[in-house]
Amino acid sequence: MKPEHERLSQYLNGELPREKLSPELQAEADGFLRPFEEAKRERITAPPWLGSAVMRRVRAAPRSRWRGVLDWLVTPKVVRLTPVTAVLVLAAGITLGTVMWRRAAPGPEIATEMQDGRVTTRFVFVAPEASSVAVTGDFVGWRRDGIPLERDPNGNGLWVAVVRLQPGVHQYAFVIDGTEWRPDPNASQLDDGFGQKNSVLLVPPARS
């Protein structure tokens, strides 16, 4: 069978008026459409019993209001957001997640007892991939090697160091693998004047 002529296709798709076809293509189109024209002449109507049969079934099982509410709750919905709203929702989610994570994450713990005029403070940092972590700050003259933290033996990625500090405000940072300086994500931060952040720790005087 020969392929359909392009203009005939366009006409049969409703994209081209009949006048644009050659007489041969018009005859071919008429031949194709003739059975459909015959089919269209047939009057097809619903049998008289159909409407009442439908309504009988519909009345037999009316939808209760609670059923409607339940159906609404379990039916997937399409939520339409403008891009601006989507960004705001995402930003709110990230902010909330960050706050919750910071609350849950361990931060510096300060003991309530003081020995020799200094307060016991516990530094904790999460770095599962690190080979070494040290805490450095004004209390050790910002030495790069600082005070080394020990890896928690539970394998949870925590590094811990207990340091005795003088009461007052201290600035500090963690040094990862001897090269990477990072502020404590669980403490307040200050600009160090060189484009980096230092963490700030207030050590209150404790009773001896």
Binding site: M1, E4, S9, L12, N13, G14, E15, G31, F32, L33, R34, P35, F36, E38, A39, K40, R41, E42, R43, I44, T45, A46, P47, L50, G51, A53, V54, M55, R57, V58, R59, A61, P62, R63, R65, G68, D71, W72, T75, V78
Partner: protein, 205 residues
């Protein structure tokens, strides 16, 4: 009496057209009727049944080739539509939504019928017409009968496209809306359908 088939997919616009007060009272929009039904007025559903049963019967008849099956399909589809009316996301497009239910029901019926025939592996004729249908078939133009037989041999999506385009007189835009396919996909479906139909009708016309 011979009348032209009513057009099926006169898809309602997204926004309500201007309507007079008497129109809104005597002939409420689909969306207004759907709202009433969802609000508990079960009887209002009869308005939608009356409005669409003839159009969908005609479509189902051409899809299945059987008037009895078409009536069953439309009945089942309307009841299903009532039960899941809350899922009609845009009531102004109720007709298109109902069409998809009817269309799926038609395809399911045709598939089941073909499977049953295959399972039997005997020479049962394609359709055993009831006496009522036998009379109707006798009256039916031979050409019309050949078309129905040929359409039955086509894949459901091609048959659906041809029925919508050449019997229900849908535009490509309307078909896109009803079938959820792109215009180019529909053109391809129509072209393949026409070619398959010519093959089926070859020698009979």
């Amino acid at each position: 009496m011979i009348l032209a088939a009513r057009r099926l997919p006169d898809v309602p616009p997204r926004s309500e057209p201007c309507r007079t007060l008497s129109d809104m009272v005597d002939n409420p929009s689909d969306a207004a009727v759907v709202a009433r039904v969802l609000d508990g007025d079960v009887e209002a559903f009869a308005l939608l049944v009356d409005r669409y049963q003839d159009e969908f019967i005609a479509y189902a008849k051409h899809m299945t080739g059987s008037g009895d099956e078409a009536a069953d399909i439309v009945q089942e589809s309307l009841v299903r539509a009532f039960r899941s009316l809350h899922r009609c996301g845009d009531p102004t497009r109720f007709k298109g939504w109902l069409f998809r239910i009817v269309s799926n029901q038609c395809k399911t019926h045709v598939t089941r019928r073909k499977r049953r025939k295959k399972d039997r592996l005997d020479d049962i004729p394609e359709e055993i017409p009831s006496s009522h249908e036998a009379d109707a078939v006798a009256r039916t133009n031979e050409l019309r009968g050949q078309l129905e037989t040929a359409l039955e041999q086509l894949p459901a999506d091609q048959r659906e496209a041809l029925v919508l385009k050449y019997i229900q007189e849908c535009s490509l835009v309307e078909m896109t809306d009803l079938l959820g396919a792109s215009t180019s996909a529909l053109k391809m479906r129509l072209k393949r359908g026409r070619e398959a139909l010519r093959m089926e009708l070859e020698g009979t016309l």
